[in-house]
């Protein structure tokens, strides 16, 4: 089946080689809070509302945000959100925090459009709004901290895959659900990039596995059984699917025969990377992502991060580039291997 990315945006595959063309960010297209009080230097009460609470991924972004808050000293952050990745409940949470009168809202959107009206209401109430991990419509927030551009993620994944399974290998994808915007976007970009730069890679199919460990394991297992020797690689699109796929490969004694490439937290992948069953795992530092978001929130409130900037100075991360009119780019996704994976703890 062809992938459309869940939205109407066209894919924009990067160049096949490592050339990175620096693109000027363009005119700021984010929103502005209405009649925001002067918060420069004043204590900030901020709420962080991720897609859902109780998953490792957002636990580590939350810890990054706390790190920033601690470093700044003038900002208190509470993380709260729905227990299911549900557009409706997330909206209710934001709504309640607008009423309770916070100074800033950090969010990772379950749906960019659905969340927009309530975020706009937050801006109208004079609240500073900054997104991370999953964006909303630009005018519904001020800035978005982009962990990696979708085409960048796609390039890392496909390049890594091709290097492991060869240019003519066959692969399948395990994702959460088809409707999750980030994953859908990445898969679209991967398809486009693979066609452009690795045209002989053979895409077999994509299976859904929710954010469910055992289901991911079962689905990977089924793919292995179905394709037998034909299957050379599995792409895990979520931090749940990748370790589960690795486990399936390991339990089937296919280490070295079936490659697993995917997004995952280093901690979850250490067992497989350390025993050489899996070569790498790709991810940005989720802690840094939260840290940058926290820093950006303070800077927006202080007025030091403003439209027209081309870089943003994010504490220990140094200068981050501003791209796509109103996004702060964390950097390229990182490929963790046996060499360095044990240096990270998240």
């Amino acid at each position: 089946s062809t992938w459309t990315g869940g939205d109407d945006q066209p894919a924009s595959p990067l160049a096949c080689d490592a050339t990175v063309t620096a693109v000027p960010p363009g005119d700021y297209n984010g929103g502005e809070p209405t009649d925001a009080p002067d918060r420069n230097g004043k204590p900030l009460r901020v709420v962080d509302i991720p897609k859902l609470v109780g998953v490792g991924y957002f636990n580590s972004t939350a810890s990054g945000i706390q790190e920033a808050a601690k470093e700044l000293g003038s900002m208190t952050v509470t993380t709260d959100g729905p227990t299911r990745a549900n557009i409706d409940e997330q909206i209710t949470f934001i709504d309640n925090y607008i009423t309770s009168g916070v100074d800033g809202i950090l969010f990772a959107a379950n749906d960019p459009v659905a969340i927009a009206p309530v975020l706009k209401r937050a801006l109208e109430a004079g609240i500073n709004v900054v997104g991370y991990d999953a964006d909303a419509e630009p005018d519904a927030r001020q800035w978005f901290v982009n962990q990696a551009e979708p085409n960048g993620v796609a390039k890392s994944m496909i390049d890594q895959l091709a290097s492991e399974i060869g240019e003519e290998g066959s692969f399948a994808i395990v994702t959460s659900t088809f409707t999750t915007p980030n994953q859908a976007r990445w898969i679209t970009e991967m398809a486009a990039y693979a066609e452009k730069c690795h045209p002989k890679l053979k895409f077999l199919e994509t299976v859904e596995a929710q954010e469910d460990n055992i289901l991911s394991f079962n689905q990977a297992q089924t793919l292995i059984n179905k394709y037998g020797d034909e299957l050379k690689g599995i792409l895990g699109m979520t931090s749940v699917a990748t370790p589960a796929a690795s486990e399936a490969v390991q339990q089937n004694n296919l280490c070295g025969k079936v490659a697993v490439v995917g997004l995952a937290l280093p901690n979850a992948m250490k067992p497989y990377v350390n025993n050489d069953c899996v070569k790498s795992t790709i991810l940005w530092s989720t802690v840094d992502l939260g840290y940058a978001a926290g820093m950006a929130m303070r800077a927006v409130a202080d007025g030091t991060l403003k439209p027209g900037d081309t870089t943003f100075k994010a504490g220990r991360l140094g200068d981050l580039q501003i791209v796509n009119q109103s996004q702060i780019l964390l950097g390229a996704p990182k490929v963790f291997t046996k060499v360095d994976i044990n240096d990270f703890d998240f």
Partner: protein
């Protein structure tokens, strides 16, 4: 006597609600404001709409687990009819609501014609309708609706969120039909003794078909409100809403075994859950703590009314 024992649970619930309102208002001055309460009304409309019909369903001794999936399917269809097929938006909405009603009607058919217990029938259509939504949408969201459409989900009318008027109208209709009409009587009779009702000349199958169709209809109505509120359509919309709906209905005193229940109770149950969610959040309780408390309140409400029911003499 029945009326009295019915009202008893509702009265207790109203008392708990009043108490919750008072405590939360004292605790946080931002809680008891017209703006906040009206906004909460906006947020609970979809659950409320479906809960009104679910009250009927549960009074007949049935259950409808597929409402969330019908909501998702209708949401998707609004987008597909409008964008993909190019119909005018009102026509797309009308058509999608027709499909939603039909989905409910199919539930009713499976239940009445083939005598499949409602729980099983709607467990199956829960998967089926959600699957249709996913298959039809191919995971595509559809957005970019015209401005006027958002009046329903995001606008106000006479200073009150538009969808609250709709909820009020549906709730009143539900209240009136269940309380005062022959149809309402038939609903209770079926819930208490289906065969007895049939021997009295009540057309059991037809009554149930109407009720399940109505359940589909309000689910599609909720879909329209939902799409208008969040400006987009996704195939996973409304998943899990059935549990919220059932919570409101049973908290409202409708007996899960059928034969007993009032729309007023359902509305009280609905408000209590929403007020708790909102008030606790404003008081700094996190979301996971809130659902623990709602679970405890659900049990407490039943225990209190069991206790009073037992000792108030029957």
């Amino acid at each position: 006597m029945t009326l009295r024992s019915l009202l008893r649970h509702e009265a207790i619930l109203a008392l708990i609600l009043a108490l919750a309102l008072a405590v939360l208002a004292i605790d946080n001055e931002r809680f008891f404001t017209a703006a906040n309460l009206l906004n909460q009304g906006r947020l609970m409309t979809e659950v409320g709409l479906i809960a009104v019909a679910m009250t009927f369903v549960i009074v007949t001794g049935g259950i409808d687990l597929s409402v969330g999936s019908i909501l998702g399917l209708c949401a998707i269809l609004i987008g597909v009819f409008w964008k993909t097929l190019g119909l005018p938006l009102p026509a797309a909405i009308g058509l999608s609501m027709a499909v939603g009603t039909l989905a409910g009607f199919v539930n009713g058919l499976i239940i009445t014609r083939f005598r499949v217990p409602p729980l099983i029938a709607t467990l199956a259509t829960l998967a089926l309708y959600r699957g249709l939504a996913e298959g039809i949408s191919q995971a595509q969201s559809i957005r970019g609706y015209p401005k006027w459409f958002f009046v329903l989900g995001q606008g106000d009318f006479l200073g009150i969120p538009t969808q609250l008027w709709l909820l009020a109208a549906v709730a009143f209709a539900g209240f009136f039909v269940l309380r005062y009409t022959a149809f309402g009587r038939a609903t209770y009779a079926i819930g208490n003794n289906e065969q007895g009702a049939a021997f009295s000349g009540i057309d059991v199958a037809r009554t149930k078909l109407w009720i399940y169709s109505a359940s589909g209809f309000v689910s599609s109505l909720a879909a329209v409100v939902f799409v208008s509120r969040v400006s987009t359509t996704r195939s996973d919309m409304g998943s899990g809403i059935e549990l919220d709906v059932i919570t409101a209905v049973v908290l409202g005193g409708t007996s899960i075994f059928g034969g007993r229940g009032l729309v007023v109770g359902t509305l009280l149950g609905l408000c209590l859950v929403q007020v708790l969610k909102n008030g606790l959040a404003l008081s700094g309780v996190r979301g996971d703590g809130t659902i623990v408390i709602i679970g405890a309140v659900l049990i407490a409400a039943v225990l209190i009314s069991n206790f009073l029911g037992r000792y108030s003499g029957d």
